[in-house]
Each structure stands twice: as C-alpha cells, then as structure tokens.
Symmetry: C4
Subunit: 370 residues, 4 copies
C-alpha cells in the first residue's frame, strides 16, 4: 500500500496509471474504436441530478441488500474482468479476499489469471462465475459444471461478446494473448486468433477467448444451459427492453445492464440511460444490476433510483489492486461505501428500499416552464 | 481597502484569492466531491434570458422590499456562513456593520467566529440567527433562547447538514477544526470528530459542528422548536416542492431554497432551477429566499421573476471582507445594488412587484418553431 | 485601402483590431457586463440550418427590396452607431458615401461625430436619422425637426437606452466622453455624467448622451412625437411580442428588433430568436428589421426567412471604415451582398419574397424521431 | 504503400495530410465559408446511439446488397469527386481498380482527371457517371450519350452546384483551375471564370465547371434528360423531403442525400439528419444513398437503419489513394467493411435487411423520464 491514500476513485485511477505498464493500462482503460461509449457511460451519471429530502430520520443508515438471496454490505459487486494479474501479482486471489472482507459480491471472469477452482477455494463467502456460450457446446456445459462443482453460487453468461470488437489501443500496442488457465486444454490455437484488415498481425480478443465464443446461439441455448445446471443464470450485456423481456421469458434470475465497459460495441447508450426501460419491462421478475461508469457513491444511488438492485465496478478493481492488492481494493471499496452512505444520508434515504425515482431528475425544471 | 476598486464580483473573487491563504480559500470556494453543483448553480443563471420591456416609466426605481416585515434597501441578505475571520480579523463584526450601513439583511451563522451576543450588540438593525437541530435537544432550545434573548428577530434552521459531506479540498488540505465560540462548553471532543475511509486523519465538518447535528429529527422537531420560541422560523435547505409543502404545513415563515452552496450534497439541481416548483406550491403562504450563485444584479432579478422574495449571497461575503473589511463588503454590495438597479431599469421594471415571470425565458423561442 | 483584401467579415474584424486603438476597439466590440448577449446573438445564427431546394430557376437573382418605400440593392442597412471617427477620420461622411454607392440604407446616429446636417448634405440617396426621447421634451422635438429639415426621410427612435448600462471594458479603460456635435449647446455638463459604485471616476454613457435620455416616457410620448413630425417613425430596441404589438398600435412604420448589440442589457435572447414572435404579432402591419450578429450572407437569408424585411449591421461598419474608409466599407458590403447572393442561389431562392420559413430549421430532425 | 498501415480512417486522414500538398489538401478537406456543415455532417453520426440485440445468430454475416440491381460486397460506393490525381498520379484509374477489386460501387465525376472513356475501359464491373445540367443543353445530352456509349450503367446528375459557392481556403490559396479532360473543347474560357467581391483574382469553381452549369433548369430538364438516355437517372444533392418527392415524381431511380460534403452551401443540416424525412416520403419508390461524414463502419449501419440503401464516401478516397494508390484505397475500404461487419455482428444484425430503425436512438431515454 502506498503512503498517500487516494481519497476518491479518480485519484486511484491516476495513481494506478503510474503503476501499470502502458500496454496493460491501455487494455484496462481503453475501449472500442472512438471510445464514445466509455465517455458517455461515465458522463451520463453527472447529468443526473439529485433531489434531496430534509428532516427524514437517517440516523441509522442501512446500506445492506441482497443479491440472489445473498446479503452484501452495500450494493456493489466486482464485475467479471479478465486477468487481474495485470494489476497485482496475486491476481484474483487478492480480489476475492477484498470482496470477502468488504462483504461485497464478486463475479469471477472465465478469463481470470487464477484458475477458477483456486479462486473458489480462497473465498469465504458466495461468489459467482462468468462464462460464455462457446462454439463447442460441450465446453459450455463443462464450464458450468466446473463452476457448480467448485462452489460458485450463480452463473453469469456474457451475451455481448460473440463477435470480435475493435480495440484500437490494443491493435496499436500489438497487445499479446495472455494465458487463460480456465481454458487450458480447450480449443485450438486457431480458435484464439482473429484476423481483419486492421489487425494484420495480432489477435485482439477480449480475454483472448472470442474465437471460442459462439456467434450462432440464440435464447434456446439459454434454456438448454438452464437445464444443465442448478445454478441460477444471470444474463450480462442486456442493453434493450426487448432483450430484457426475452431474458425474463427464458427464466433468467438476474440481468446485468452492461455495454461491456464500452469495450465491444462503440456508440451504445450509457447503461444508466437504458436501465429504466429494462427495469420497467422486467417489473420485478428478475434482479437487475447496472455495470458501467460507477465512480462515486452518488452514482450507486442514482442507479438504484432508476431500477438497479446493485451495481458492478470493473476498471476500479484494477486501480485498487495496483495501488495495494487486497488492501488497496478494500480501501477503494470503503470509499465507495462511505460516499454512498453520505449520499443516502444527505438525500434523506435511510435504506436501499427508500431510494426511488423521486430522488433523481435530469431535465432542468426550467425547460418546460420558461 | 485596496487602491484599485473591483468593478464586479468576479474581480472581487480574483482579488480575494490573493488575500486569503490557500486552505482557507479552498474552504470558502470549494464544495462537495466533484463540485458539479457549484458550477451548475452558477451557470444556471447565465442560461436564463431576459425579456426587456420598453417605454415604461422607470425614472424612480424602487429597489426596496421587506423580509419578514423588515424593510431592506434591496432584496439581498448575507447568508449564514461560518468563520468570517477567515477573510478579515474583525470577522462578523465587520460583516454586520456592512449589512447595517447598506441596509440589507444578515443571518448570523451559529458557526460564527464572533459570539452571537456580541454580533447582536454590534447591530443597529434587525438581524437573524442560524442554528441546527442538535442531537442534544436541550442545545437546540438553548441556542434558540440565546438568539431570542440577544435580540435576533428570526431563527433560521439549516436542514441540509445533518450528515457528513465530503469536501475533498479540505481533506487534501487536512483542514483543521476552528474555534466555534457559540458552542463553547457544548458537546464532547468526539462529537466534533468524524471518521471515514477517505478522511483517515481529519474531521471535515462544515463549520465543525456536524457531529453535534442530529440526523434523526423530523418535522415534529420543527413543530417543537416553534413551540419553544416566539421567533419566526425559517427553513434553510429546501430543494423540493415536497419539502416546501411540509415546511408550510409546519408553520414556517420563510423558506430558503439552498443547496448549501454545493458544499454538502453534490449533483443537486441549481437552486434557481427548483425555485419555481417551490414557489408554486408555497403559493404565498411563506416568503421564499434563494441562495446560491448570485454574482450579478441580473441574477437577483431572475430569482425574483421566478418566485423569490429576496436572495442570499455567501462566498461574496468573504471576498468583500478580504478586500476591505466593512468597506469592502459595502462596496461589493453597492455593485450588486447598482447592477440590479440598472437591470430593472433596462427591463422596464420600476419596482420589485413589477418583476414577474414574463421577464425571463430559458428555452430558445426558435426551438419549437423551426 | 490595405493591400490584402479580407475575404470575409471575420477577417475584416481581425484586420480592424490592429488599426483601431485598444480603448476604441473595446468600445466598439464590447458590451454589457458578461457579454453573454453578444455571444448568443452571433452564435444563434450558426444554430439555424438551411434547407436548400434544387432545380429552381435562380439564373437571375433579384436581391433588391424596399424599406419604407425606398429601393435598396440588397436588404442591408447601416445601423445607428455613434462616432464613426473612431475608425476613420472622415467619420460618417465616409460611411454615407459607402451606403450611397452600394445603395443600401443608413440610419445616422444622433451621436455621430459629424453633425447631422452635414451628413444629410453629403448623401445622394435617402437616409434616416436616429434619436432618443429626451428628458427635455423640447429637445426631442427639436432633433426631429432638424432631421426633417435637413432631409432625412425617416426617424428612428431608440427605446432601449433610457437607463445607464454597465460596459465593463469602458469602465476599465476609463473611456472618455467624446464630442457629440449634434448635441452641442444642449444639456448641462451634469446631464452627461452618471455615477455608480462601479464607475467612481468615469461616466460610461452610450454615445455619451444617456444622461439626456428620459427613463420616464411611455408610449404616449411616441404618439406625441408622431404628431410633431411628418417623418415615418421607427421603433428601435423591441425585443418582445408585447412591445411589438404596442408599437404597431401606436402607429410605428417599422420595428427594429435589436438588443443594442448586447451593449445595454446583458443576457437577453439573440435578436434572431425573438424575431419570429415579433413577426407573428406584427403580421405585416409594419416593416421589421433585424439588428445584431449579421456576419455572413447566410445570416441575412435566415433573418428574412424568420420575418425580417431587412437587416442592420453595426460593428462591421467600423471594421470596414478602419480598413479603408469608404472603399473599405463598400468592399465589406460587397462581400455580404455576394455571400447573400450565393446563398440565395444555392438555396433555390431567386428573390426576396421567395425566402420563407421552409428554408430554415433549427431542431435536429432526428430529435423527435429516434 | 507505406510501411505502417493505418488502422482506421482517421489515421488515413492524418497520414494523407503529410502526403498531399497544402493547397490540394485544403481543396479536399475544406468546404464553404465557416465549414459548419462539414463538422455537423460528421458529428451527427456520433450523436446517434446503437441498441444492440443479443443472442441472435450472426455467425454468417451477409454484408452484400444491390444498388440499382448490381451486387456489391458491402453497401459502400465511391462518390463522384473531381481530380483524383490530386492524391495519386494514376488518378481515377487507381480508384476504379480499387472499387473493382473490393467490389463496391463507383460514380465517376465529370471533373475526373482521367477522361471518362478511359476509366470505363479500365473497369471490370459496372460503374456510374456523374454530370450536371449545363447552360448548353447539347452539352448535357452529349455527356449522357458519352456515358452510355462508353459503358456506364447509370447517370448521376448533381443538382446542388448550379451557383458558385464560397470556399475560403481555396480563395486564400488562390487555388488554380485544373485540367478537366471530359470537358476538353467544351465551353469558353469565360465560362470557367467566376468573379465576386471576395475572389478578385481567382475563380473558385467546384471541379472548375460551375461556369458551365445551368442555374436555370427545373425538373422539366430532368424529364427531358430521361427521354434522351436509357440509363437510369440518379439525383444527387437532395436535402429535403420536398425535393425527394419531386425526384420520385419525375422518375428518378435513386436519390443521393448529399450536402456536397459541406463544400457548396454552408449551414445545412447533416445528411444523416435529413435522411429519415427523405426515406419516409420516398417510401421505397427509389433507392436512397447517403453521402457525407461516413468514417466508421458503425456510420454505415446507422445510415441504413435510418433509410439508406447504401452510403458514399468522398474525402476518404483521396486519403486511401495518397497513402498507396489502389492498394491504399483497397485497404481503407477493407477497414470500413470489417468495421461494418463487426458492428453488424455486435448489434445482432446478420444481414442488411435486418437493420431497421430499432437499432438506433438519439434522444437520451432519460430525457422524457426524469
């Protein structure tokens, strides 16, 4: 842990930039093509205003909530992101300890740098596993069974990565393929390669596994997977009401509204912008988590006000890990928690369920008036 | 007083920056987290356009008005802000003299650097006192009685500060706790301390008294306070129509629409943006004062057009004091008055009551047209 | 005339900046307080988009029009602006020659540097005279009679200058009072002085005559003036539909939609923004001229599309004069004419009357669609 | 071909800037007056957001489409732009080879640097020819017959260039008239000259032929031309629903929504903004191509979603040619194709006909909600 503790996530970001090598930094921070989505996803939060209420008893604020029945200390989870060893030598082991000790959720990426069974063993509380639908259906089932067998309590299927994206920073850096221990022995060398006119000499695969992921599957595959595992299924990457409805119709237990951190398809809306249409159509039939752009405790409150049950953070995981491994990530999570706590108090919201849409506004009240 | 007189409030701000130490300057100018609210509160005024009327007799412009029955020369009051000695050695004594001589309102902060009884003694015209609802109800009553006994003519209760905010400039500066003479002998050392993950070594309390303020009280406490004092009650920190209605229902005599200068909860709307919804629901049952972002005489007119009876200025108090104590603040107030006078004249508004909503516009008239 | 001819008005502006002394430049270019209106007035034009039509016969484009029955070669007039000798030693004599030779309209300011009778004598075509309603009603009548007697063919009364504005550049420059030959022998020294808290040592009077102008008069004075002169009356400074209606009701022949170039009241709408509401209520009962922000031929077309019969230019007069006196101003006017001609042709508009509202748009067509 | 291959069109632009002389660069990149339209045309794409769908079978993506019955590999065509020899010595011969080898459409400009018959001979697949309506009707017919005789399969008539525009970069550069071999022996020297107050010493004619183009013709001329040729007619330069309707009424086979790259009339809407109103009124009665601002594969998808059958690129032709002649342009086209392919896949769109309006959004979903 460094001497000077950052006091907010932006300071963590600046600190981490000096601690992570440039190609790795570009991989973590960068996104698809013009990074329009990255910027919009973040800035959308700052365009949402709060409407604080006064003289509400907020003496004992309860930040806890449950996600798929598991209690967490505040509504934050660590999103599935590959290769935490980019930021700290202990990789996901450092991460899971932080999640345990802060009592927040964690979804392990199938692209983790530590094999999934070892991360599960290191965890003292429920964590979840993320995977894809693979071209090889047996691989899909095998991953799910490994997750179930090693003790993960839910299965998150990422839907938005079945086609190669264009991450230009990685192309310029000729970013290499990293080891993906969860996939050892699976797929051929060719499966890990993608070629296009703009990346003649490198494969730019998210978590290096895009070549394995099937662009062919439909919601029937979702039903099939549900029949093969007892784990509750979570759909990650939903960005429309239409898909949210399909997800619910196909028995999903939770939906993650995510644009993959702006890393796959550029020029999508911010996730916070599409959250309300998802929340409206889901109408309580599944839990909803928001992924993308959370940097302040106030962002958490805004997401909950617009329909999220919890939020995910991605890039900040690497910032915290880089700054100090488990302790760095814990401190970063503590900042988010304390900011969220302060925001709840100042808004007159004593607990999660008291946070509703009346606490947020976006259009200037003057606009339709004068 | 310096040689070169500033000609507007922005020049005063620049001048004061050189006269006040950096940590104090950061305390005065800064706000919560990303200071989104500070910027929005100011810029919202510049987005409101004026619709001037011609050939109205504005030869003798009457800028006077009354606040809670007391006549002031123009609709400006000095908002309750702690520790005026940050800007001038005489502190609130210098301030009250300026308010007296310019015949504008003043609300003394309970966090004043001069004890409230001395400020009251120094005043030749009615001034008001600001306090909080404290964890210790006896303290609440005591403060109110001291205000009444020492001659304050109204009691302003700040509602928006019952939970610790996050002012990052102060955290970085390790800003110290200042003496708060009005609270001498009250509370324990611990009450003045707040700890969080992001301020491990300092307590960052607005006016250093947040620890004493109760986050538990509700509008019943407001009723109770009303029963303990003959002073008219003013509710400061209302930012929604909902709370404005509650305030009126609980007998408030005036409402201060305030976001605490962007110092407590970040990413609220600008106060001028929520003023109309407050004015509409209050509907004349209480007076309404607007706090936040007033830097030009035109801003005063805009606030009145949208429903305010008067406006408060905060940070400019420190600028005027730093530049020249009583004389500096008087000159600064004179600029605001003269700008307001000129704006009234150029808009064809001879007096306060002639300023109505037809004088302002925000949406471009072209927008719904072509 | 300089060697390198500017090719647009912005280049003229840059050129003139080097040719005019800084205090004079600030006087010409500057405006009231924060100059919000100056910027908005200009930028509003750039927010209006054109909808060009194809395969219209535009072989012979007719740019001519009439203003109060007088034919001009294209719909541009020189607005009343004081002291053209700031830019060229010949002052308004140089200006009137340019207006004559280019056959455009000109309104002489009562604050001209050349006495009104001499300018009238130098003109070979109809020009108009601008004046105020003065505190001394006899002065109002005298000016009107002098205009009539010396051959001016219309009388433009400026309505928006009866109260002192705050032009901070002039205050900082301690800008001096200039000679106003049309007022020689009128008023006292005191009438020319204005004092306020922000201009302790200078009088900052527009054209130095604000002290003479009456802030007391109402539309009855307008009727009275109409009874004292045979000249058609033009009301300059109308910025609302309400005042446009009053002007028409009181027999005005033309209305100039003007915010005085942002020099008097700051934070008004752009003139092009309020033009449509004026045009709608006037409904052909008077002519309408737009003043403010015209820098491109396309701006002229936009103004006509939104209801103007012609436009006025102000600051560009000084730019042209500074660059080359009569020849400079003629060349500048030629640029405007040629740009307007090209814009008409490219929009498929062969003459002035073919320019209607369907040629402009402001809201993105996508906005209500997706 | 340079060593380092650009990975997107913006990199191509930067590379080309160093390879093309400054006056030529200014000609290629620049536009009319303030270049408002150039910027808007580009930026409008970035304001349109995508709504990706998940779990759609996109394994085999079909990017092919037809334009006027001819199959192309992806919906891109090379727009008619004059003088490709500005960027590469082989001129349009290099271009047509790239179009052939990538199997995309090409419209040869009548202002080409290689005579039209030679380009046609060099082409192994159908290409189209662009011309104007000339002052000399015989010339119009002659050009059409030459196009037909030399094997062009469609005739594109540019409608938006019948009046001289104002391209200030060219005026400043005193940009010379270039040889126009297709016009050899046609017109007089005077026809190629245009004079105005702002271009005293140069003629600034788009493709140097504006002097030949008739500003007089109407839609009857369109009918007449149709009677003189068997080639299908394409109308280029439509920017309103009104003209789109007229074009359809007059038997056009395809409409090119184009603002001439912002080179003729400044301050038009972006082409992508007016595309929907054109598509709505055309209602399938003609094909629609969008010209202007395409820089990313995602832009192609957005245009198709809003009603285009294909898109045209203009300036990027020169970038590709400058970087490497035929190979450079082929590589650039490959980038566009691969980006479009990736965008289709990530949006869940397996083929062109699956791309409908539900995939795009512009207004933030939050705007009408909170």
């Amino acid at each position: 842990m460094t001497e000077e503790l950052p006091i907010n996530l932006y300071e963590y970001e600046r600190l981490a930039k000096d601690l992570i090598s440039q190609p790795e930094w570009d991989f973590v921070e960068g996104g698809a093509t013009d990074e329009i989505t990255i910027n919009r996803t973040r800035e959308a939060f700052d365009s949402i205003m709060l409407r604080p209420r006064m003289l509400v008893d907020v003496d004992r604020r309860d930040l806890t909530t449950t996600v798929l029945g598991e209690k967490i200390d505040f509504p934050v989870m660590l999103c599935p992101a590959g290769h935490h060893n980019r930021a700290h030598s202990e990789g996901e082991i450092a991460t899971v300890r932080a999640a345990n000790e802060m009592n927040v959720g964690m979804i392990l990426s199938s692209g983790s740098s530590v094999v999934m069974e070892d991360v599960a063993s290191a965890s003292t509380r429920p964590i979840w596993f993320q995977q894809y639908f693979y071209r090889d259906q047996a691989m899909t089932e095998l991953m799910a069974h490994r997750a179930e067998d090693s003790g993960y309590s839910a299965l998150c299927v990422t839907l938005d990565s079945s086609v190669q994206s264009k991450r230009e920073r990685n192309i310029r850096n000729n970013y290499p393929r990293l080891a993906t221990p969860n996939y050892d022995g699976m797929g051929s060398e060719e499966d890990f390669s993608v070629r296009s006119s703009y990346s003649p000499s490198s494969d730019d695969a998210p978590d290096n596994v895009t070549g394995l992921v099937s662009p062919k599957v439909t919601w029937e595959e979702f039903d099939w997977l549900g029949s093969k595992t007892d784990l509750p299924l979570i759909a990650k990457g939903v960005m429309t009401a239409e898909d949210a409805k399909l997800a619910v119709d196909h028995g999903v237990k939770a939906i993650i509204v995510s644009n993959h951190g702006g890393r796959n398809l550029d020029s999508t809306f911010a996730t916070i912008e599409v959250l309300p249409e998802v929340a409206e159509i889901v109408d309580g039939k599944a839990e909803i988590y928001l992924d993308g752009g959370i940097r302040r405790g106030a962002d958490i409150l805004k997401a909950i006000a617009l329909g999220a049950d919890a939020v995910l953070i991605g890039r900040p995981i690497f910032w915290g890990l880089a700054a100090g491994g488990t302790e760095g990530l814990k401190h970063l999570l503590g900042i988010l928690r304390d900011e969220f706590d302060s925001t709840m108090g100042l808004c007159g919201k004593p607990d999660i369920k008291s946070i509703d849409r009346t606490v947020v506004g976006r259009k200037s009240p003057l606009l339709d008036l004068i």
